[in-house]
């Protein structure tokens, strides 16, 4: 019988940066043998909304392939406690760690199964920032499955801040806005972008995040890196090539890159599917 996904609220650790509870969906593994645990780190703001469908489809596909998958809605992201204005980078790191602990403590097979961290866009940077804390509770090295990662949070923050610029384009108010917003954040004030009140605690954490190999190198022994392009003649981006070289050079780690043809579903106007990505990701983990 196919087990149904289970939704529940996970109470935040009293020592965590933000209290309350987090909305989670657990997809129990199908089949006799548990092949691994997977914790998903979602992107933020509009990208999170646009990618809900792909995340759900992939979570189900992983579960069907024998993985126990946990999706956690990070602090201030809608279904969990807090407003977006309260969200901070550190609270999100704590959430990811709490999610992995919950999954590990399910039972003995879960404790012994390897932990995969699966991220999309800013979620990949969050995983990277949380590696040391995530590894602390684990007996084995971590494994990463990264979807369309950005090598630097700075770029993602810039793209997000451009939303405000774009909204003001028609009124001709866009010039100088970026600098004004940066100054506001540096001064410790939140900025309103496309209806999201972006707090300095989130913006500055994201801006500083880099997708660098962990210290020590042994924390991570697998990296599956996925880039999606609509073009059939696409090549891996230069930034990705550089990042992958760094991850490959570092220690005894299996690093693979996958270039998948499909829509940029995290930003397209309509909600789109990338079935080839789901198929390739499911295959890559096994």
């Amino acid at each position: 019988m196919k087990p149904e996904p289970q939704a529940f609220f996970l109470p935040a650790d009293p020592a965590a940066a933000a209290g309350g509870q987090r909305f989670c969906v657990h997809h129990p593994a199908q089949g006799e043998h548990l092949r691994g645990r997977i914790v998903y780190a979602h992107p933020f703001a509009e990208e999170m909304n646009k990618t809900r469908r792909m995340a759900a489809l992939q979570a189900r596909a992983f579960a069907a392939a024998g993985y126990s998958v946990l999706q956690i809605d990070l602090h201030g992201c809608g279904d969990s406690s807090g407003d977006f204005a309260d969200a901070s980078w550190q609270a999100w790191i704590d959430d990811l760690v709490a999610a992995s602990s919950w999954l590990r403590e399910r039972d003995e097979p879960h404790r012994q199964a390897p932990l995969w961290l699966w991220g999309l866009r800013s979620g990949c940077l969050l995983i990277s920032a949380a590696l040391t804390q995530l590894a602390a509770g684990e007996s084995q090295a971590l494994k990463l499955c990264l979807w369309q990662p950005s090598s630097a949070g700075k770029l993602l923050l810039q793209q997000f801040m451009r939303l405000r610029l774009a909204a003001d384009l028609a009124g001709g108010q866009s010039r100088g806005q970026m600098e004004a917003m940066r100054q506001q954040l540096q001064a410790g004030q939140a900025v309103d972008i496309a209806g999201y009140l972006l707090a300095p605690g989130l913006a500055l954490g994201l801006e500083a995040a880099r997708l660098l190999p962990p210290e020590p190198a042994t924390l991570v022994d697998r990296l599956e890196w996925f880039e999606i392009s609509s073009r059939s003649d696409a090549e891996l981006s230069p930034v990705a090539t550089q990042a992958l070289a760094a991850w490959s050079a570092d220690g005894d780690r299996r690093v693979r890159s996958h270039l998948i043809q499909g829509p940029a579903f995290w930003q397209t106007s309509e909600i789109e599917d990338a079935p080839a990505l789901i198929e390739a990701s499911t295959a890559a983990l096994s």
């Binding site: 509009e46 810039q158 793209q159 451009r162 939303l163 405000r164 610029l165 774009a166 909204a167 384009l169 028609a170 009124g171 001709g172 866009s174 010039r175 100088g176 806005q177 970026m178 496309a194 609509s230 073009r231 981006s237 829509p263 940029a264 930003q267 397209t268 106007s269 309509e270 789109e272």
Partner: protein, 83 residues
């Protein structure tokens, strides 16, 4: 492939136009005329141009006129590519 073809391909993909951009020419109005071109789509479009055409857009050089028509957007991109 000329600049206009490249720009229209990216526009079509980002806005999920399903090939509608094939009917566009230089005078086709964009900002304020195409419902799909909301602020998120403008950002995706800029990102798409940067990533797929390898150009770097300075935030202070973008204004409403850049996205007024297919022609103005193509001129902007051609200017960036031509250096």
């Amino acid at each position: 492939m000329d600049t206009q073809t490249k720009v229209l391909r990216i526009l079509d993909e980002v806005l999920s136009l399903n090939g509608r951009s094939a009917t566009f020419d230089r005078s086709t109005p964009l900002l304020g005329a195409i419902a799909e071109l909301d602020s998120m789509a403008v950002v995706s479009l800029i990102t798409g141009l940067e990533e797929q055409l390898g150009l770097v857009v300075d935030d202070d050089e973008i204004d409403g006129d850049t996205f007024a028509t297919v022609g103005s957007l193509c001129d902007f991109v051609a200017g960036k590519l031509g250096g």
